[in-house]
């Protein structure tokens, strides 16, 4: 019995360590959020600011470091895809093979989730979202993002502090994630109206579900009319939760890497390494979650029969 507890000791210790680390991280964040005074923040551990920092302006148009990363990644994906598919071969090799594998895998996966009719119409959006978010998240993990930029020499620790990094993860900026969520929301309305028509759309929101007879039917109509309003509130909240979920995950990840790198100065090359692997995982999971959630929201409004996709 005793050695059983001993076997669990490492687990307990690591849990305790996680709790303490978590406490440190939240502590730093809370201080940064409460005290935005640059003088005090510079003396504390570095935390990444909530907003992307502007690096230059063209007229009235401010270019932030997150925007720069967004453009670099978008251009990179376009160039990569174009060069890979310049000379299409019957038997794909190399880069063409990679894209065919990615797109075909995504297509088959989405088809199993939302059905063959919807996937033909909406695949372009979901695959773009997935590939774009995935590459953005992973680009943000490349060393140099967030550490190269303008800064100052700190006399206390005799080290160079970066105040305005040149690059910052694209999804660590709420503007981009909200733009994607808002784009999806518009498309969702368009697809919902195309699939149901205006009347069908309203019936879908407010109409009674299930079959009941007589007085119960009238009661159900009243109940589902009320439920419809709740449904509308939850639908209106979707872009907010979609954008905050992606932004929160990526921003918290960057902040955690930063906190880990400054935890023990002598070991700053070692401690973040496991967390980098976790961030790789978070990057792909969040891309998948964004794609799947948007796909399922579309499925929920567009399907008419009781769920049939679950049987595949």
């Amino acid at each position: 019995m005793v050695h059983r507890y001993f076997r669990q000791l490492p687990l307990l210790l690591s849990l305790l360590g996680l709790l303490i680390f978590g406490g440190f991280a939240s502590n730093l964040r809370a201080q940064a959020a409460v005290a935005p005074d640059p003088g005090t923040v510079a003396e504390k551990h570095e935390t990444i600011p909530l907003k992307a920092t502007p690096i230059f302006t063209i007229g009235k148009f401010t270019v932030t470091n997150s925007m720069l990363v967004t453009w670099i990644v978008a251009a990179g994906i376009i160039v990569f895809a174009q060069t890979a598919t310049r000379k299409i071969k019957q038997v794909p090799t190399g880069a063409q093979n990679f894209w065919e594998w990615l797109v075909e895998g995504l297509y088959n996966f989405l088809e199993s989730v939302i059905g063959s009719h919807l996937v033909k119409k909406t695949f372009w959006f979901f695959s773009t979202i997935f590939i774009f978010i995935l590459f953005l998240n992973w680009f943000g993990l490349i060393p140099g993002v967030g550490t190269i930029g303008w800064g100052h020499h700190d006399p206390v620790t005799n080290a160079f502090r970066v105040d305005r990094p040149l690059l910052r993860g694209g999804n660590a900026d709420l503007n981009l994630t909200f733009a994607m969520a808002a784009t999806f929301f518009m498309l969702w309305i368009v697809w919902a109206l195309q699939e149901n028509g205006v009347g069908g759309f309203i019936v879908h929101l407010f109409g009674p579900k299930g079959d009941s007879k007589g007085i119960l039917k009238i009661l159900m109509i009243i109940v589902f009319f009320m439920v419809g309003w709740l449904e509308i509130v939850s639908i209106l909240f979707r872009p907010i939760s979609l954008s905050f979920r992606l932004y929160g995950n990526v921003y918290a990840g960057e902040n955690m890497l930063e906190a880990m790198a400054h935890l023990v100065p002598a070991l700053s090359w070692l401690i973040p390494i496991p967390f980098y692997f976790m961030e790789l995982l978070v990057g792909i999971v969040q891309a998948l979650v964004f794609m799947l959630l948007t796909a399922v929201f579309t499925l929920l409004i567009a399907h008419h029969e009781p769920v049939q996709s679950a049987q595949q």
Partner: protein, 63 residues
């Protein structure tokens, strides 16, 4: 140490929720490996909804 109690409670609840969903999904896949894709979809949806609570607490509650 300083922090916000509402964020802490939301994170605690969401973590418990995500853990329960993951447990359910894992045991469901164990019982029926063929249904892995639909289970994954359900699990990710449910995890996303559970997780969203933290972000509401983090960003939407006035300080």
């Amino acid at each position: 140490m300083s922090g916000s109690i509402h964020v802490g409670l939301a994170a605690l609840g969401a973590a418990i929720g995500v853990g329960l969903i993951g447990m359910g999904a894992a045991s469901a896949v164990g019982r029926n490996p063929g249904a892995a894709t639909p289970i994954l979809v359900q699990a990710i949806l449910a995890i996303a909804f559970a997780e969203a609570i933290v972000f509401y607490a983090l960003f939407l509650v006035p300080k």
